[in-house]
C-alpha cells in the first residue's frame, strides 16, 4: 500500500534541516501502524509526505502502486480525496460549517450531490455517535466530539488509508481510548490501513505494528 525507498527530505534555510535521511518503509493494506519518536525525528514529515501534503527531495514513494512524484496539482488533489483520510491533532474542522457539513466536505470535492452527501454524512455521524449533534458548529462541541467529527470526515470517502497525526494529543484519557477504539474498529471491520503518529506509548501499544524514528531514520520496526 505504501512504499518508501530511500526517501530524503531537507527543509531549506540558513541552516538546512535534513529531516529524513533515506527512509525505507513498506506498509501493507489493512495494517494498523503507529509511528513514534522524539520531536524533530521526522515522523510528522513522513506522515505529511505519505498524505501528499508535502513533497520529498530524493527517493521513491509509491502509494497504492502509483508513483507520487512530480504529480500535477489536480492529480495530487484527486489522490488526497480518493485514497487518503486525514485526522489531525487540532481537528481542523471548518468553523462556520456544522458537524454534518464538515463531514461532507470530502464528498463535496468528489462531486457528490448535496442530498446524498448529507445522507452519508448523517450515516457516519451516527457511526461515531454524534447524529443528534449534526447541526452543531465545531465551537459548540467538546474536544472529543470534534475529533469524532474529524474521524467521520476521514472515513466518509472510503479512503484506502487513514493518516492520523497525534489524533489524541488534545484529548483526555477517556476520550483518547474512545478514539482509539474507533480507529481499531475501522481497521478491523473496514480493512482500511491506519497509520497513527503518536508520542504516547499506550496508544502505540494498541497498534499491530510500531515504527520508531530517530534522527530521520527508522531505528526500530516491531510487530
Amino acid at each position: 500500500m505504501i512504499d518508501f525507498k530511500g526517501i530524503h527530505k531537507t527543509y531549506p534555510g540558513e541552516v538546512p534541516l535534513h529531516v529524513l535521511k533515506g527512509v525505507d518503509l513498506h506498509i501493507d493494506e489493512g495494517e494498523l501502524v503507529s509511528i513514534m519518536g522524539p520531536s524533530g525525528s521526522g515522523k510528522s514529515t513522513m506522515l505529511n509526505i505519505m498524505g501528499i501534503l508535502d513533497d520529498y527531495d530524493e527517493g521513491e514513494y509509491r502509494l497504492a502502486g502509483r508513483l507520487v512524484k512530480n504529480l500535477n496539482e489536480k492529480t495530487e488533489a484527486l489522490y488526497r480525496n480518493e485514497l487518503i483520510g486525514f485526522i489531525f491533532q487540532s481537528f481542523n474542522l471548518i468553523n462556520f460549517k456544522n458537524a454534518m457539513e464538515n463531514v461532507a466536505v470530502p464528498l463535496y470535492y468528489r462531486g457528490v450531490k448535496r442530498k446524498e452527501r448529507n445522507r452519508l454524512a448523517m450515516e457516519y455521524l451516527e457511526k461515531v455517535g454524534l447524529a443528534e449533534h449534526w447541526h452543531h458548529l465545531p465551537m459548540q462541541l467538546s474536544g472529543g466530539q470534534r475529533q469524532r467529527v474529524a474521524i467521520a470526515r476521514a472515513l466518509i470517502s472510503h479512503p484506502k488509508i487513514i493518516l492520523a497525526d497525534e489524533p489524541t494529543g488534545a484529548l483526555d484519557s477517556k476520550t483518547t481510548q474512545e478514539v482509539m477504539d474507533m480507529l481499531r474498529e475501522v481497521n478491523r471491520k473496514e480493512g482500511q490501513t491506519v497509520i497513527i503518529v503518536t508520542h504516547e506509548q499506550e496508544i502505540a501499544n494498541q497498534t499491530d505494528r510500531r515504527i520508531f524514528f530517530k534522527d530521520g531514520v527508522i531505528f526500530k520496526d516491531e510487530k
Binding site: 488533489a77 484527486l78 480525496n81 481542523n92 460549517k97 470530502p106 470535492y109 448535496r114
Partner: protein
C-alpha cells in the same frame, strides 16, 4: 453552482463586518459612477436640446465692416444685405438650399391695454418662425399675402401672449408696436422647455416699411438646407453662398469679417466633440473611483484569505484542487461586488431619476439626467470585471501557500 453559492453564502455570513466594509467601497464607487454618468448624460441632452444641436439645418449670414480692400474700395466700410440679395440667392437654386429667410429686427415697445413689454419685432417671411424651432400653437404663421399687402399682422411667442393677454386666446386681439396697431394672427411656442422668450414676428415688408423705409438693409439672412450629411458638402455650400453674396454687397469673398457666415452643423460637430470628451472624462473619473473600491476589496480579500489560510488548507487536504479554491475566492469577490455594486447602481439610478423628476427641465442645459440601458449593461460588465480583478490576487495567494504550511498556520 448552488453548492458554490452556498459555500460563498456561508463564508459571507461568517465574515459580515468584512463584507460590509468591502461592499461599501464597491457600492460607493458604483454610485459615484452612475451618478456622474447620469449627470453627464443630462448635460449632453440639455446642451443638445437647448442649443438645438439635434436639428442643425441653418446657415446664418450677417454683415459687418470690410477688412480687405475690394474692387478699388477701401477697408473699414459697412456692407449690408438687402431683400434683393435674398431673392437672388434663392433664385440661384444652389444644391441643398431649402429656403432663404431674410430678417429685419427692430426693438419696440408693445402695448395692449394697460400691459406693455419691451421686445424685438422681427420682420420675416413665411416659415421663418418654424425654422427657429417654434411651432404655431394657435392661429397661423405669417403668409405671402401678408407680405405682398404689407399687412399689420403679427405672431407672438407664448410668453409674450401670457405677459400681454394672460390666459386669454390672443388670436384676433390687437397689439400696438410703437403706435402702430397690429392684429395678432398667431401664437407660437418654442419646441423645447425652459427657454420661452418674449418675441414678436411680423411680415418683413411691413416692418421694413415702418422702420427703415429708405434704407432696405437686412439685419440677418438665414439659409435653410436639407440633405447635407458631411462637413465637406456644407463647406462647399457655404463657399458657394459666400462667393455669390460677397460681390453683390461689395466685399471680397475672402473677407470673413465683412460677411460673417456661421453654420450650426459645424457648431454641432464641435460641441459633440466637447461632449464626447466630457463623457470620456466622466467614465475615467467614475472608473477611477470604482478602482479605488476594487483595490479596497482586493486588500480586504487578501486579509481574509490570510485569515482563512488554514480553512483553505483543510479544503485542499480534503481534495479541493487549486482551481476550486481560486473559483471559490473569485466567486465570493464577484458576488460581493455584484450585490453591493447593484445597490450602488440602483441608488445612483434612483438619485438621477429623482433629479430628473424634481428638476423637470427647469435647469438650463441639464435635461433628463438618467442613465441609458447601454450604460447599465456597461456598468454590469465593469462590476464583474471589478470582482474578478479584486479577487484574483488573493485567490492566487491562497493556493501558492504550501499545503503543509497552510494546515499548521
Amino acid at each position: 453552482m448552488r453548492d458554490v453559492i452556498d459555500e460563498v453564502r456561508a463564508s459571507m455570513q461568517n465574515n459580515r463586518q468584512r463584507i460590509w466594509l468591502t461592499g461599501f467601497a464597491i457600492g460607493w464607487g458604483m454610485f459615484i459612477l452612475v451618478t456622474l454618468l447620469g449627470s453627464a448624460g443630462g448635460i449632453q441632452k440639455g446642451v443638445y436640446k437647448g442649443g438645438n444641436l439635434d436639428m442643425p439645418q441653418l446657415i446664418t449670414l450677417a454683415t459687418g465692416k470690410t477688412s480687405i480692400p475690394w474692387n478699388g474700395m477701401n477697408t473699414d466700410r459697412m456692407v449690408e444685405m438687402t431683400l434683393e440679395d435674398a431673392n437672388a440667392l434663392w433664385n440661384q437654386h444652389f444644391d441643398y438650399v431649402a429656403n432663404v429667410y431674410p430678417t429685419f429686427n427692430q426693438a419696440v415697445q408693445a402695448v395692449s391695454g394697460s400691459e406693455y413689454v419691451n421686445t424685438s419685432l422681427t420682420g420675416c417671411t413665411p416659415s421663418y418662425i418654424i425654422a427657429q424651432y417654434y411651432k404655431i400653437f394657435r392661429g397661423r404663421d405669417i403668409n405671402h399675402t401678408d407680405i405682398e399687402e404689407q399687412r399689420k399682422v403679427c405672431v407672438l411667442s407664448s410668453r409674450m401672449c401670457r405677459e400681454m393677454f394672460g390666459d386669454k386666446n390672443p388670436v384676433g386681439c390687437e397689439v400696438i408696436f410703437d403706435g402702430n396697431i397690429f392684429l395678432v394672427v398667431g401664437e407660437c411656442r418654442y419646441l423645447f422647455e425652459g427657454y420661452q422668450a418674449i418675441s414678436a414676428y411680423a411680415p418683413i415688408s411691413t416692418v421694413m416699411a415702418l422702420y427703415s423705409p429708405t434704407k432696405p438693409a437686412l439685419s440677418m439672412m438665414q439659409v435653410e438646407y436639407a440633405g447635407i450629411e458631411d462637413l465637406d458638402e456644407l463647406h462647399h455650400l457655404t463657399s458657394d453662398i459666400r462667393n455669390f453674396i460677397s460681390p453683390r454687397i461689395g466685399c471680397s469673398p475672402q473677407d470673413s469679417k465683412a460677411l460673417v457666415i456661421r453654420n450650426d452643423f459645424e457648431t454641432v460637430i464641435n460641441m459633440t466633440k466637447v461632449l464626447s470628451y466630457l463623457g470620456i472624462f466622466v467614465w475615467i473619473i467614475g472608473i477611477a473611483t470604482l478602482l479605488a473600491g476594487v483595490v479596497g476589496v482586493s486588500n480586504i480579500m487578501l486579509i481574509t484569505v490570510r485569515e482563512r489560510t488554514r480553512e483553505l488548507g483543510v479544503r485542499r487536504a480534503m481534495g479541493a484542487s487549486s482551481g476550486s479554491i481560486i473559483r471559490l475566492v473569485l466567486i465570493e469577490a464577484v458576488i460581493i461586488t455584484m450585490i453591493f455594486g447593484y445597490a450602488g447602481m440602483m441608488l445612483g439610478i434612483g438619485l438621477t431619476q429623482l433629479l430628473s423628476a424634481v428638476l423637470g427641465g427647469s435647469v438650463p442645459y441639464f435635461t433628463d439626467p438618467t442613465v441609458e440601458f447601454g450604460m447599465v449593461v456597461g456598468c454590469n460588465l465593469i462590476m464583474i470585471l471589478a470582482g474578478i480583478a479584486a479577487g484574483y490576487v488573493p485567490a492566487k495567494r491562497a493556493v501558492t501557500i504550501k499545503l503543509v504550511d497552510a494546515l499548521t498556520s
